[in-house]
Symmetry: C2
Subunit: 355 residues, 2 copies
């Protein structure tokens, strides 16, 4: 898929910040590497991708991203194996999805060869920032913002596609409890919920703050029309284990088609885990929790990989889940991370070597 | 309401750009005045508001506004009367609404005295940019963006509240036809549709582009659950005149509580126009169009004031509306603009003199 014809303009940083970074004590998304990728869209086309020293840049106060939220992003991770090889996990999926998100936000599609060539050049330049060992990774954040000046409410004619990188350990610490939403919603039918549109995330902050006040870390969103069906959490898709059956909602135009979600589904099929992809009602989960049949809940997402959920709240009641020895969450996390770190066979062809 | 204690730091531009501006040939929101207001939020409080020369500013690539769309805005207009006095129209409403929007987006509220004092100082500095005569105004754009660096999906701890100003003539030119949405949605119940959240606007660009391809300028959104009820257009609330009865949808958590909408409702009551604020179904409007009872549709909004709608499309059919001599649209526009330009009595106390 790679073309050797893509020219990348590379300006190396005069010195690295890496010595100042404590890799054993990282907060998610706070420290960035020495370089970033920037590609401008103007005059109807994407210009030459540039890798340059990471740092602030100037925008006009009327830039459309500030006023109309015309912005999309992706989240990926790069892993280093014991032989110092760098791997990405299913990057084709992220590439497809950022362009799908862009289409819904009226942003021009980014070329495949620019995406892969620029990202790989950037990762090679930052290879010292990628640490070995389970849990360690380089979080890769491609994003697009509308930079054109002017406050007319119409799609911009100028954009920046950027990639920034942040060294990461595990995303969550401690136990995660979720609140099932009864009133607030994440997305509408016919809206932008399936896209990684910037505005989808800010819209969750206030309800999530209210949930935090009640002792929960995230919200599990329900459908906006009835609030009877479980959809996804703020930064994760959600799975439920009732008995030994695994349940998750089908994707639609409200629910993000998560790469980790898709991988869990493939692994469940591979390992003959009983899986149903169908609408999951709040009612059945509450009943299963009461009867003891609800054995597990977990979230899936690039940042978190697999995140066990230890309890949930609904309608003022709190429910605690059992602590299992043979949890599906641990099983999938183990399978996924071993593939990601090149410690297991890659039957599905998910690993992507950065050369 | 004003306090004299608010200190504003004013840095005047060394020279004005105004001589380069053709005030008879303005595109909406493309030209900005010589100054802007900037107020930073950090260390848990809003700092001293600053008025400085208009120009670009730097942000970190990981600023949360780029990734999570944590941003809200307002739209207002300043008018100049024949005595060179500067007037705002119901600015208290905009102040209340931006803080309501901010609350929903987990952005700290902006202090009332900062808002009014800083905006008025800015308008006085830019008084030459406000031209007399109906249709001429200075469009005032307050907005707030999350500036904190870092891509963790949580509310920022740093923001910029800014006000920029753009000289304006009429917002729309030519006839406006709208498409009634059958599939796409603007907002969910329990979502952020009532807020002037940045992301609400980018989400409309793609469906609006599709509508434009079919010959329409805007979309009239319907409820996301059933698409049976008419809600609002992208940048306007919408009114329907069936016979001599005026209809408009009630505001709710999906629909923006427009200042112009509210003013039209007050004027309708004052002038004994038969008004019903209730859910308006697509079906009844189609039937009224077919029977000839649908006499008018118009939009209301700060940028557009009152915008007559000359026709609409639904389910592949196009409907043209009659051209009326005694249109409500013209009536309301005349009443509103005369109040705005200090040419009529202001019974409701809507005008606000900038002193």
């Amino acid at each position: 898929m790679k073309t050797s014809t893509t020219k990348i303009d590379i300006q190396k940083a005069s010195r690295s910040k890496i010595k100042n970074v404590d890799f054993n004590n990282l907060s998610f998304g706070q420290v960035f590497t020495d370089h970033m990728m920037v590609c401008d869209y103007k005059d109807g086309m994407w210009q030459t991708p540039t890798i340059k020293p990471y740092g602030p840049f100037e925008l006009d106060p009327s830039a459309k991203v500030f006023h109309y939220g015309q912005a999309v992003f992706e989240g990926m991770k790069a892993f280093k194996d014991e032989k110092d090889q760098i791997w990405l996990f299913r990057p084709e999926k992220n590439f497809e999805r950022i362009n799908k998100s862009s289409e819904r936000l009226a942003i021009p599609a980014f070329p495949r060869d620019y995406f892969f060539t620029a990202m790989e050049e950037l990762l090679k330049l930052e290879r010292e920032w990628i640490k070995k060992g389970f849990g360690n990774s380089l979080y890769v954040r491609p994003f697009v913002i509308a930079t054109e000046a002017g406050v007319s409410a119409a799609p911009a004619k100028e954009y920046k596609f950027m990639i920034i990188c942040s060294p990461a350990q595990a995303y969550y610490s401690g136990e995660v409890r979720v609140q099932i939403s009864e009133k607030f919603s994440r997305a509408a039918d016919g809206g932008v919920g399936f896209a990684k549109a910037a505005g989808n995330y800010a819209a969750q902050f206030y309800p999530t703050n209210l949930a935090k006040d009640e002792g929960f870390q995230q919200i599990v969103w329900t459908d906006a029309s009835t609030h009877e069906y479980l959809e996804e959490a703020g930064t994760m898709n959600v799975f439920f284990r009732v008995g030994d059956k695994l349940l998750t909602a089908p994707t639609n135009d409200r629910i993000l088609n998560g790469v980790t979600r898709d991988s869990v589904i493939s692994l469940a099929k591979e390992y003959n885990i009983d899986l149903e992809i169908r609408r999951v009602s709040v009612k059945e989960i509450i009943e299963a929790a009461k009867s003891g049949e609800l054995k597990e809940m977990f979230g899936s997402g690039t940042a978190t990989v697999i995140n066990p959920i230890s309890g949930f709240g609904y309608a003022g009641e709190k429910y605690e889940l059992p602590k299992l020895e043979d949890s599906y969450a641990r099983f999938f996390k183990d399978k996924l991370t071993k593939i990601q770190y090149n410690q297991a066979e890659d039957k599905f062809g998910w690993r992507y070597l950065v050369k």
